[in-house]
Symmetry: C3
Subunit: 676 residues, 3 copies
């Protein structure tokens, strides 16, 4: 495995952030201070132009780029590279005024007024045309600038549009998908139910909130279409850039567990994936360690979109953000901890939104490196600058990657299908939370964990955990069977394989698509528990487990081992956890929502069987590994406010230079990066 260096120019870990000098063009002293302070903070990159359209083109066809030349030149002269964004994230007022069809239509069919951001219609030809003009202009001006490191496409894609253009494209998309055969669609969507049969693709409307929201297949396909159409829009921007500056990589910034777009699909046209991480640190609902582990899941999921190379942490907030319900300051040390967590999990960058707080508008209180106070002697600035120094010590990590022996399957289709399903309990289905918990309980065993699509190649993994994989893509059943037959260990849960890719239920027993044979069980019933209900599971070999929310009643086939049985209610004594072995592999089925300790026991049992090394960690300590070229770097992160001791550590801590021989002591919120 060789290093995959994203930006050779940077020569290590990138340290940068969004920079909006167009807000300060009338204050050249501030712009000069910016460069002085960026250098002091150890920044080697700045992201420019994210919302600069109205500065570039204040009136249609009237362009101003001199200011940006000036700034990019100065940055470059001071060793700071530029990531240049296309400005399509927010439109000038003149554009919406002249071309109203750029504005989205909402889910009731009403066109929005001009305003806010990230709300252009993805289909409107005129918008694509106007974007093409400005993007080409950017290439004209800056495509050959030596400081240009990367193109950043638009910003935080999201949302939906129900305008006539989008409706028409949706109909065409469906016609294409269903081979122009409306009967295929009718069958796939089970439209005889409630007399919803369509005669023609042109009759199909999107799932308006005051219209047809009751066809599961339509709802799901609309989500898929939105991903397809957003990606199609994005590809139109990328096509210009790739044609004219093929040497410059492109990215766009994804968002935390954003449920509107299937990133597994959307990452394809990008060279590098990046995302914006804004955890609610120190909140009152979960432990700090929970917040950190949730963030680790997000990093891992983003990383695995392109798991053969590092990813980028495109945005994070120095200090705090301004849009959480409570915007609490990050405690001293947390900025360092969270930034190094990103690196530990495979990021080659630590970037911020934003460099300097603006004086007004929606995000005037969003954390920044430089505050309204304007000086470099604030606590926040100092922590950023100190981190800048430390990142230099990690320069050898650039290009290394994470190689995990275990994967959690996470699919947007199962997210959408479980979120939209009419059954169980809406408030407790929690698909994504269930996947996070799987990640967390596996991580707690000290193993590196990937988060991948069910359509990914399984062959590199020893263990695969598939929580609530409600919807099975074609061939998943078969591929799981192969995985197990080839010695893999598979763990699935309640609510697995209920529906096919059109959200049609499998007949003849869940889990469908052959999985009932692989696991040796059929789920005859699923009992939905009220939040105050509990059941228990008795295990022969481990402590009793507690059940909440869901409990399936299983039929168990001959040859299937029963590992645990229910202790209460009308399904008392019946199987709750089973396992079936197949050659060297195994297939475990966990029919109920069990507590974390039980899940860790069950995971550990399987990891052991699979020969995956586990590491004993104190509660609240994370362990992550990056490697390449035969080198391994192991990160230890202390997500607690007390010191923590980890034993069995050998190597040099790159951050302190200290040689560790067995015992590693981590300060509160402390981090070590041990080169083995």
């Amino acid at each position: 495995m060789e290093k995959k260096i994203l930006f050779p120019q940077i020569g290590g870990i990138m340290h940068g952030g969004d920079y909006n000098p167009e807000q300060w063009l009338d204050q050249p002293d501030i712009l000069e201070e910016d460069i002085r302070m960026m250098k002091k903070a150890g920044m080697n990159c700045a992201t420019l132009g994210v919302f600069s359209w109205s500065t570039y083109e204040p009136r249609e066809g009237e362009f101003h780029f001199a200011w940006l030349h000036d700034i990019m030149d100065k940055l470059y002269a001071n060793g700071i590279y530029t990531i240049l964004a296309t400005p399509s994230g927010a439109r000038p007022a003149w554009l919406d005024e002249i071309y109203p069809e750029c504005r989205r239509v909402d889910s009731y069919g009403v066109r929005e007024h001009h305003g806010v951001r990230h709300n252009h219609c993805m289909s409107a030809p005129v918008y694509r045309k106007k974007v093409s003009v400005i993007v080409n202009k950017l290439v004209d001006e800056f495509g050959n600038h030596p400081g240009l490191l990367m193109w950043h496409i638009s910003n935080e894609f999201g949302g939906e549009c129900y305008c006539p253009h989008c409706v028409k494209r949706f109909q065409d998309y469906l016609a294409e998908k269903f081979d122009h055969d409306i009967e295929k669609l009718n069958k796939a969507w089970w439209t005889t139910f409630w007399s919803h049969t369509y005669n023609d693709f042109s009759q199909i409307e999107p799932p308006y909130r005051n219209g047809e929201f009751s066809i599961m297949g339509l709802n799901l396909e609309w989500k898929r279409f939105t991903t397809w159409n957003m990606t199609d829009y994005m590809k139109a921007e990328i096509a210009i850039l790739k044609e004219r500056t093929p040497q410059i990589p492109v990215t766009t910034n994804f968002m935390k567990e954003y449920d509107g777009l299937d990133y597994h699909k959307m990452q394809q046209p990008l060279d590098v994936v990046s995302w914006d991480s804004y955890p609610r640190f120190h909140n009152d609902e979960e432990s700090f360690s929970d917040t950190m582990t949730e963030n680790a899941f997000d990093h891992a999921m983003i990383r695995c979109l392109k798991k053969e190379q590092p990813f980028m942490l495109m945005e994070s907030a120095p200090g705090l953000v301004n849009w959480h319900p409570f915007n609490k300051m990050k405690r001293p040390g947390v900025h360092r901890l969270a930034s190094l967590q990103a690196v530990a999990l495979g990021s080659d960058t630590v970037q911020y939104f934003q460099w300097r707080k603006g004086r007004g508008s929606f995000e005037q209180y969003h954390g920044a490196v430089v505050d309204h106070l304007g000086t470099d002697d604030t606590r926040v600035f100092r922590e950023v600058a100190d981190l800048g120094e430390e990142l230099k010590k990690l320069k050898d990590l650039a290009g290394t990657v994470v190689k995990a022996p275990v994967a959690v399957l996470y699919d947007w289709d199962s997210l959408w299908a479980t979120d939209g399903m009419k059954g169980l309990a809406e408030s407790t289905r929690n698909y994504i939370k269930t996947c996070r918990k799987a990640y967390r309980n596996l991580s707690a065993l000290g193993v590196d964990v990937d988060v991948i699509s069910s359509e990914e190649d399984y062959s590199g993994y020893s263990v695969i955990v598939a929580p609530m994989l409600y919807l099975l893509h074609p061939h998943v059943g078969e591929r799981m069977k192969q995985f197990v037959e080839q010695g893999g260990h598979l763990i699935a849960t309640y609510v697995t394989g209920y529906v096919d890719e059109n959200q049609l239920n499998y007949l003849g027993g869940f889990p469908g698509d052959g999985l009932k044979d692989l696991f040796g069980v059929i789920s005859e019933e699923i009992d939905t528990l009220y939040p105050s209900d509990r059941n228990c599971v008795h295990f022969a070999e481990m402590p009793e487990g507690e059940v909440r929310d869901y409990a399936e009643v299983l039929r168990v086939a001959d040859g299937t081992n029963v590992l645990g049985t229910y202790e209460q209610d009308y399904y008392k004594g019946m199987a709750a956890v089973t396992e079936r072995t197949c050659q060297n592999g195994s297939a475990m089925y966990i029919a109920a929502r069990l507590d974390d300790a039980s899940m860790q026991h069950l995971y550990a049992r399987t990891l052991k069987k699979a020969g995956v090394s586990m590491y004993k960690l104190p509660y609240g300590v994370e362990r992550h590994t990056r490697e390449a070229d035969g080198m391994r770097y192991v990160f230890y992160l202390n997500d607690t406010t007390g010191p923590q001791i980890v034993s069995g550590v050998e190597g040099i801590d790159l951050l302190t230079g200290e040689v560790i021989k067995g015992i590693l002591t981590l300060e509160p919120y402390g981090v070590a990066c041990v080169k083995e």
Copy 2:
């Protein structure tokens, strides 16, 4: 009293359910299995065609009925009758596309998009015309089919429409009602308030949520109009059927405590009433017994729409439904218990939605007799089949009815008027819950209880309870007076007789329309308590009672007995419960919302005085009686998870064949039907 047999062909209790073979026409093996399994489950009826419009008429004017002939023939050949629905519950896409005015307009005046169901405009002439075509076609095809048992009109009528057609019909309805005299309306609606006087009926708009929602009379009349218009629509369907197949009875399926339509009015054009019962069994807010008693109230209310004959339980869910917040499985035995409760309360049918779960769309997880698994060896199937056997033992009950000595008054007008009133506390007015509690506290004394409109004949009853009868229909005051003078016993509560049929307050003291003299009290004030507030009532002859929510301050006339007085607050020592006797009758006024035990005491006191037999029952046991032709059948239902013993029972338990001599032991969730 003679039996009133609804369906002689059935020869006992009907066992059936909704059947949607059009979803499986491409799988004839499944259709064959259906018939085999229906027979195994003891089904003698199936409801067809509820949502079959797009299968009947996939394109305008193109009809397909052969499939249904085939199925009805086969069912009939196997001893299974058909209830055939008109398909107007859901419209084909082509219909909305060609005739957009079939789609409703919402309460903001915006026309909905196509989709979902039960949302056709009741007024649109073109919709009525298209429905007439398909209904006539159904009669052409199936009107003489020997298996045809009944017409089922549309499905679960509900909702409102604010389209121009409906607005115009509303104006015409009002002109008719107010003798084409706008001044009459102005006076009735008190429109000088806030300068809301109308000059002409054509000026009147419905209560748009962004318009005129502040006139109580208008709001109420809009509800009444909606009932009138929905019924008028329904009558148009019925007229076709009655003209062409007068021998076939018609029904439509009502819904649990549906507050949008006055079923007292809407039942009139029907031959038989039926409803869909979906209790939230095993929920976390109330005891199981509460859930059952609530359902009993619903059965009784529906039964009393046509109390001289049995009603039908048109839909109920085997297993579970899919639309409750938590869809918990019915525990073993509960299906039997709930089904027999319907029979105990006067239903001659036990029917399901649905026979077989569909593979997709909105209700793919709604309980059914046959699951996606597709077999007859599931728990749910077995419970249904076992019940099918038991129902055969009750065949003599078909046609018997309930004769109750006690009635609770329940009016949609008082529901609408209290729900819409601006006063008291919106969150605690709870008109329907108060009526339910009255029913429950009376039932707990072992008596059969009717739930009737205040406009019904009172003469058959010994005791009438009128909880919160806020709005008095014309002559109700006078008729109550007659009832008491003729020896009846009347019990009313706080919030009685505040307004007349136009929601105008009575002047000169509440309760109005002469009731202040009948009860011998005037309510000078009503105090609204916060949920944490309490008061108490001291009684001479019974334990102290607890007051929540509402307490009226009374002026008591000479000759009125004070039974209880407040113990606290500024009305301490003043009357809380009074009684006035009049010849052999009595009129009790309960001025405050008292606890259940106190209410049961007060009810028992009056029942005793009225000579109504009461039966001592263990907590959680229901007792209901059906009778005819001199025979009496007494049901005992155990709504608890422990065994229960009832004493004083004599007769033969039809379900077990056992002779009961004094002591009846009920198993958990057990049922006995004792023929006396």
Copy 3:
């Protein structure tokens, strides 16, 4: 200081209320009873015509005034004056039918249907024209009536309109404000952020909820415009009246803490300010004393709109209202207590909505002097009549005013800016509650407190408290500095001076506009606490204080005294409360949200330094002073249900005639008015 008598004709305190005889024109007996009972209740004034437009002008151009002549004549003949309202608070149906543009457009851009009230477009020329016609007619008819005491403009102005007329006026307003220079606006609104630059004023839309709601400056300016436009509309009505009846004073009735209109601006064209007070007495969320003190703040705020003269309590509810979540009856004595609180705080009137309950429509249950029962022997009537007698004993107070040594600053701009800000925690910013608490904690020390705009003259005060003065109007920094330099004592808190009048952050350190030097502190960070978080402040000279919600981290300048320091968290040991003295004045900065006891300690410390007399009061007793012509009247109000003893009182209690020598005993809910 001389008395400022509002209505010499009244000869004391006004006792009156809204009177709607047009609802009873067909019942002349009721109208006669009204006059008899008004006299019995000691009423000397009635408010007429508030919603009489459709009675005056039932059809366009057809006028009827005879009925009102008759009533005003009779009232006058019986010693009852009339306040006559212009009827623009609610429009006849014909007007909306003929002139749809009178109806407002909502915040999505959708025009409302006809209905309800207080919802005319403020800009529509045709509405202004139709109002002008009816107002002129009223002047024609009643302008010279000897019973006419005052004009009451419309009713409870409120709401917003987004119609094209309003949008255009908004654009013109902005052009005017920003000198027709769009670049000035762009800079003031920081529109380069998110590319929101405008090219022209005609491009600017109001902050539609489905449009541009993300520009803080736009949102704020829209609020200011709404005040301006509503006031402009009101001035158009006033202009007619002032021109033709200059001798008749005008008012309009304001509402409790109404956040939609800046009353500091809107009071300017009025002769007298008045408001409608509807506290939620006896609620379950706060103590009765809290409710009363909150009401006292409202009275004080309204009083200070024109603090050189008395104000009017235009509406209050005898008994209860009908629109609270729980409409609990006022306990005996509370009506007297609350009414005299208004007088104590500077009102020269006690008026009701309404005299007599209507029989129907939205407010049929709103408390009134005369109930549906229609008699004068109810508890509510008796309490009103008793109060009428007592008010006569206070006739000398008419025209006296409150002279407070202390002021709390309260600005609508800071309310709007903090409510709309994106930062901190939306649920705990609570600007108005914080101002109320400041008022309460000062009042508890027995001092009279004004509530004034930051733009008011500070010179009459010894102490000024500025809670959370987030937005600084021009020159406020400078004027605060002068105030302190001239010996004033200023107290400010966290979240002071973050933004200028355009909501642009001050650069170089908060509080801005020079205040960081006046207070000698800079707020480097603000930590937002979760509701479960706490910190503490250690003081040298007073008990430890508890911190919730907000804690700023300060940099303290040389020469600034640190009075208290944080005890926990990363800012442990750092300054939490500071003081800087400047000549004889002082400037205290309270950096955290402290508990009430600590705030009272800090206030008392400063009041003592400022030489302001404080009075020791039992918990739940209010003390307020009115004075003029050398006379002082001190009110003591007992807001508790037990007796209370106040010492150090000397004078004659005007209500009892008793001479108080040192000890004043107050009955539960008791009141004394001591003439010193």
